[in-house]
């Protein structure tokens, strides 16, 4: 197939629709949010158009700083856990027969049909004292009596990893399927054990895919606000939970917008830094 660079404006027409969608559904709402974040809040009513930085100033406190720090830490941990589980899993999956692969992928896709609410409530039941998995351990004689495993940080982490894992696998899958099998054969011929070949050949060969997946899961996890509420204590609430409180319950749109803008900027900066570091290392 011959590829030509687009020459006339009509060659660009296929881009108009996605471009328009991007403007309508991303650029316009995001710009509105930035504008609102500078409006003046009226505690007794709504807000008035203005240009004040109070909303950003209020955010710059130890309290919100620590909530932001926790949210970022949680998202990073979810990303690392997901990739650590999904990468070896997807690698093994890509070496299975076609039929087994299809079955697994259909199963994973069906997990995606579960909403965050269902996942949250299902895990809260599984972790409960009255009906949870510890009852099973008691029946097996492993534990004295049932205990509640929630609310806790680990419950939040488990729920969020569960939610993000199918996405992680589906993102990694194409790259791993397309991985040249001769690379591995060469490594094995040269005497590497399967484990060694996996870590020294497969993993470095897919570095960029892994970094991209980490970023995707990180961004995905950063927006989570339901699971921390259902499975965690208030100290495990993410910034998204506090944004929702401000927007929906206190109708403090300017402050909610300022927090959201801040969150977007911080995560963009982190993603940028990751890409930059990756590029430098690649250059070496």
């Amino acid at each position: 197939m011959r590829r030509e660079a687009p020459k006339t404006i009509t060659d660009y027409t296929p881009l108009f629709f996605p471009g328009l969608m991007l403007v309508v559904f991303f650029v316009v709402p995001f710009s509105t949010m930035i504008v609102v974040s500078f409006f003046k809040r009226d505690p007794a009513g709504f807000y008035t158009p203005d240009f004040v930085i109070d909303n950003y100033a209020r955010f710059l406190s130890v309290f919100f700083g620590s909530v932001l720090g926790f949210s970022l830490m949680l998202a990073v941990m979810v990303a690392i856990c997901c990739v650590a589980i999904a990468f070896p899993f997807t690698y093994l999956l890509s070496r299975c027969s076609r039929r087994v692969q299809t079955l697994w992928l259909v199963g994973l896709l069906s997990v995606l049909s579960l909403s965050e609410v269902i996942i949250g409530f299902a895990w809260s039941t599984l972790f409960s004292r009255t009906a949870g998995i510890t009852n099973l351990f008691v029946a097996m004689g492993l534990m004295e009596g049932p205990v509640a495993l929630l609310p806790s940080f680990w419950a939040v982490l488990t729920g969020m990893v569960y939610q993000a894992l199918p996405y992680t696998i589906l993102v990694l899958y194409p790259a791993l399927v397309r991985l040249d099998p001769t690379l591995l054969e060469a490594a094995r011929t040269l005497g590497a054990s399967p484990l060694r070949a996996f870590f020294n050949v497969v993993t470095p060969a897919l570095r960029n895919t892994i970094v991209a997946t980490l970023i995707m899961v990180f961004v995905f996890a950063l927006g989570s606000y339901l699971l921390p509420q259902i499975l965690g204590r208030p100290q495990h609430w993410t910034l998204s939970v506090l944004i929702t409180d401000q927007a929906i319950y206190q109708s403090n749109m300017p402050f909610a917008a300022a927090m959201a803008v801040f969150l977007v900027l911080i995560s963009l900066a982190l993603v940028g830094m990751t890409l930059l570091v990756g590029r430098k290392e690649n250059a070496l």
Partner: protein, 362 residues
């Protein structure tokens, strides 16, 4: 109270939406048949369903005014929509059910048309707390529905019912409580003030508020769940996972009637009474119909009907009602209720919310 509309009726809501959609298609015919009509906003889900089924048809029969009910979204979103529509001269609903805090916020922009109370036959029978006035005395809203938040327990875990809100502070209840997550819907500052500081007037000053916050901080180790979503707590209460907390009196009563081992208790300091008003958007032209509606809704017979069918507490004095003692007890109590200090959530809202969030998150 915002989450009141979010009760676990989601499936019914979906079904309701389908029915409503079919209803919309047939609506023009209905409207043509009636000379007069009124758009009434009610909290979506359970309330809208109950009103559509038991209340609105009776009103249309009695007055000849057709009612088109509009489901209000939760939170203050509806207030914001009404405000923005009014600026454009539109009224998505003529009358709306509006929470007390939202009613006060709407006052700040004169969003509500003052009501002519001489048109309400039973105005004098309304309890004072159900008349919402502008600072200059004009009436901005009249009580629409009221409900109680009480002290609820699982009867398997607690053989005897607690008698006072101070049970929340009892060290024996460590990690056993489910409480609402926001200052403005849990009203726990008011509970603290009434239980330990002699009344909600103690919250008039900043020092009083600080003291209430300090006392409330002692509850934290006992709290297992700070909930925004009612289904989350209701399920845990029924199973005994979280055996004590604050919850809605009427829903707990329904659960107990269904055989779940739960009970709702009015503590000696009183249950928390929250309520919504009927308010008339300034963009509405249906002033006469709206007054007829509020007049109709404020009759003792209709308040009784609502208590029996919808489970709301009456807005009228008890002596004019025809409720039997057990019917009254199912929705209310003779113990003087704790009335939330709604004024605080407009005048000091940001300060209180910030302190509250730091208290429970920190």
């Amino acid at each position: 109270m915002t989450d009141f509309t979010n009760r676990n009726f989601s499936r019914r809501t979906v079904l309701g939406a389908g029915v409503a959609a079919v209803g919309m298609l047939t609506m023009p015919a209905v409207l043509r048949a009636q000379d007069k009509s009124l758009k009434v906003g009610v909290y979506g889900g359970y309330f809208k369903k109950s009103f559509d089924e038991h209340i609105f048809p009776e009103f249309t029969k009695a007055t000849g005014i057709a009612v088109e009910s509009v489901a209000e979204p939760t939170g203050e979103a509806w207030l914001v929509q009404l405000e923005q529509a009014a600026k454009a001269g539109q009224a998505p609903a003529d009358l709306s059910m509006m929470s007390q805090t939202s009613t006060l916020k709407g006052q700040s922009t004169e969003l509500w048309q003052p009501l002519d109370t001489s048109k309400f036959k039973h105005y004098g029978d309304l309890l004072d707390r159900f008349v919402n006035k502008y600072p200059d005395g004009r009436v901005a809203g009249v009580g629409a529905v009221a409900w109680y938040i009480t002290l609820v327990t699982n009867t398997d875990t607690y053989k005897d019912a607690p008698t006072s809100w101070d049970a929340l502070w009892d060290p024996a209840n460590k990690d056993k409580l489910g409480l609402l997550a926001l200052a403005s819907n849990s009203f726990l500052l008011e509970v603290t003030a009434k239980t330990f500081m002699g009344g909600t007037n103690a919250l008039d000053t900043d020092e009083g508020l600080e003291k209430a916050f300090a006392k409330l901080a002692e509850v934290k180790p006992n709290v297992r769940l700070w909930y925004r979503d009612e289904a989350q707590f209701e399920q845990a209460l029924k199973s005994g996972e979280i055996p004590m907390g604050q919850y809605y009196h009427d829903v707990t009563g329904l659960a107990a009637a269904d055989g779940f081992h739960v009970r709702s208790t009015f503590p000696k300091e009183g249950g928390i009474q929250d309520s919504g008003n009927w308010v008339l958007s300034r963009a509405s032209t249906k002033v006469e119909e709206a007054h007829a509606f509020i007049d109709y809704m404020s009759q003792p017979a209709i308040q009784g009907l609502m208590s029996r069918k919808v489970g709301t507490a009456p807005t009228l004095k008890r002596e004019v009602l025809d409720l039997k003692p057990e019917e009254f007890a199912a929705v209310s109590s003779d113990i003087e209720p704790i009335i939330p200090r709604y004024d605080l959530y407009t005048s000091k809202s940001d300060w209180i919310n910030q302190k509250w969030t730091e208290l429970i998150v920190g």
